[in-house]
Symmetry: D2
Subunit: 284 residues, 4 copies
């Protein structure tokens, strides 16, 4: 069992926070191995992520929490601590395009993305065999205009039953309800196949083709109730030229999508991302 932890802190910015936190940690025999912080000059908010090592045998999280709360009360922190090797329970959502799913699963299997894939949820049967191959539960939840709210209810039940921490929309072509977006804000990552804020909505590669852009992009972001408007986590780009057809752009885009989504998921499960209003702070 590892003795390393990841601490996350968000609080109003002021002088002396680092000193206060680090000396409090020291008193608890927790030492900073690696840390990063950022004070947003606009909204005066302080963000910190630290990787800690406990120098004694076993850290009692509850006792430490009480102590740390008390010590740093004046900072008015919103904070959390988890073992560094903590793996979130994840549900991967997919529709007909399987490249992001395949890519994520390969990374999970080879230890690059340390997460527990609890299930794959899809509105199509196409990728059941991938789920079977990886021995992961597959839930077929077809979505139509008529059954939309029932389908979402079914999804909510799965999320609850399997104690899901993170939902990854790996080219899932259904729009979640506003309520769902709000209830799980910060826990749903989507890959949008364009360089947002350009080309929101449907068929972004066709939009990019029509516009004649010379660089193609993909954007991973947290899902908010505004379509394709949630806080951006990561973006990638690739140079293209006039001779590329919409089909070419789509193929180039697939690599961008897979890599960008995988990177965003990695940041999330390593707990490197803070949502800062409509933006993200990422310590990488």
């Amino acid at each position: 069992m590892s003795n390393e932890y990841v601490l996350r802190v968000k609080c109003p910015d002021r002088y002396g926070i680092v000193a206060k936190i680090s000396s409090s940690l020291n008193k608890a025999n927790l030492f900073i191995l690696d840390s990063a912080h950022y004070g947003d000059p606009e909204n005066k908010t302080f963000f910190m992520r630290a990787k800690l090592i406990y120098s004694k045998k076993v850290l009692k999280i509850d006792a430490f929490s009480k102590f740390f709360e008390k010590e740093c009360k004046s900072l008015k922190m919103d904070w959390s601590i988890k073992p560094a090797d903590y793996q979130p329970n994840t549900a991967i959502f997919v529709s007909k395009y399987g490249h992001c799913l395949q890519d994520l699963m390969y990374r999970v299997d080879s230890g690059i993305l340390p997460m527990n894939v609890s299930c794959i949820i899809s509105n199509h049967m196409d990728h059941k065999k991938i789920a079977d191959w990886h021995e992961i539960p597959f839930f077929y939840v077809p979505v139509t205009k008529e059954n939309k709210s029932q389908a979402e209810k079914k999804i909510r039940n799965i999320i609850k039953d399997l104690d899901i921490d993170l939902m990854i929309l790996a080219r899932y072509m259904q729009i979640l309800s506003n309520k769902m977006c709000k209830d799980f804000y910060g826990k749903i990552i989507n890959i949008h196949h364009s360089f947002l804020p350009s080309f929101k909505g449907a068929k972004p590669y066709h939009q990019a083709y029509a516009k004649g852009v010379k660089i193609l992009g993909a954007t991973a972001h947290y899902v908010s109730s505004q379509l394709d408007e949630g806080p951006i986590i990561d973006q990638s780009v690739e140079r293209v030229d006039h001779a590329k057809t919409p089909r070419d752009l789509e193929l180039i885009g697939r690599d961008l999508e897979s890599i960008t989504l995988a990177r965003a998921v990695k940041y999330h499960i390593e707990r490197r991302i803070f949502i800062n209003n409509s933006k993200t702070v990422i310590f990488n």
Copy 2:
């Protein structure tokens, strides 16, 4: 004197164009050194750029033109030929930010951008000394709400008097009239300091900051009467993170702007760009 020429052809697409053109050229003792072509599958338009060498002493352009027109009449070509070392007369427009101007002038001086800078036009006096240093005429044309049309008239006179072929808006912060945009369509290159179509209009770096993008961009495009909507020539990007202030983004953006504009101008003066409706075809 060089015996090399650049031929440009645009015509309705059909079978056998390359054969027809290349054999016609051969008959005229003009041989293809380098060529590129593209048939747009959507609008069935064919584009070709060829670098030619004349195997005899001196090419009589007029005689060749008559011959070539007649030979290829069936192709219904829109075409032109110019010596490969042809240098357009250029006017560079600038306001307060001088980085693009400086960068262009350095490239001109060191032979990277083979063009004849006929004048620098500005609504401010700030960069007169750069013009003086390079011994280039400087025209101070202040623009106010009231004198806008007179100022443009002044500019039109300069363009006419100096026989200007190409206008480069090197961070020129004035919007040209629709009429001007139309009259000189395809002859005015602008650098927009964002990754279009994102962040049109004013203060794109502030827009990018507010949106929290993870990649910053710049776009060089031909000016059309729609603000920041003309055909895109080139784009560049650079990765940024949450800690970058609007000022940081601006500084990073400057390099993107200089390089992107220089590249677009190079393509233009090497006659590599065709406008294809709202897009560009670039043979590079």
Copy 3:
């Protein structure tokens, strides 16, 4: 059945080649849809790739070949023509790292890489299940110091029996004999996990780490008898910093390797690559 073909020509450079070839093709009712050519100024060699369409019913390749040979005899061409949808028989070689294999197979399955994967050959059993899943013959050919030449003989037999056109070394950790490299020169693509010519040989990520490079790379190249020295096909890079461990570099490198190898293979099977002494000419 498609009526499109890819023509490849390599010949001594001189004036009028494009005209000669294109008019000869026209006579045979073959028309250029797309073409690219390059004359190397150093060794005076001309390279051309053209996508052609046959305007009649069925092209008789043999008859055309005789005609074309005769027509263009003076050009002293080394040439070939194949249907545009021709798919090479491919053998993928792999050792313990499966990411490139996985990535290639995904692209094959989803139609991005149009090739016929005839078999997977490995000196380990690890990836047999991937072969099984894709219903592709798997050949386990263990290699030791003692059996090296026998193992290669076995491989040669497989190559012959399955009529293999292309061998892809997808992180295959065995060095082929000089004889094998020569006999199949231009038919074996390797992915080297560094930015060649830096860091040849073993453990390039450890070499890169030791050197403290700020950019990591991967290189796909044709295999020659000089280790990691064959003609470069494609390279990719990614920015890294001091905090990356050799393990981090390896993980970042995996994505570079997969994408670079896939791109090189795509160029090859689309017949876009010419070997030009120690370099490649690629029409993409």
Copy 4:
């Protein structure tokens, strides 16, 4: 006058360093605005850079130094503190190629590179007029085989007289003596026009052309007595293809060189770089 400081610390790694340093600073009314640290797992060395703000009127550096030394004695620190707006006295060395010099001077003038350019030193007269334009002393120090040691003596005198902190070799085509490299180790930045460790020595663009690389690079590094072997600060790359001549590569390379050198210099003057044996640690 600003009340901000940059603190740099290097010391043997152990638990509790951040807590010790930050609480010691707090006692001295210095608060961390921004900080970064890194512990090299190989050589157990800890590096830290912190931007501090002094909450009282005027910081007495000497008194603080004594206090801080005593407080943190157990850490065995190698450390320094300077005002955040400290500008090093810089000598820019140049030969015939002026693009890096021009680029640096533009950035200095426009406030992007906050440094005091004390002089320009060259073995040619070509760029004296740039020095004159910027009103900076220009020293013409021709170098021949015969006068090499005298020339270096002259340079040393200038460095001493003008109290130079930083020497920038902006395409300076002379090799400094081993003794000079050692005496000023960590104070001389060179731009090498290739992606090191590839293509050391002379004519790297010709080497890259001969090798047929698909990506071109530039490397900024500290000068050591081993030619082109000093710790790498920054690298940049750009994609190229077979059609690029050595001259094309050179032109593309110029932009890479200018930008890479400017970025390295910026890191240095913001005191973000630590030399860590043969590598660099950069907090950016």
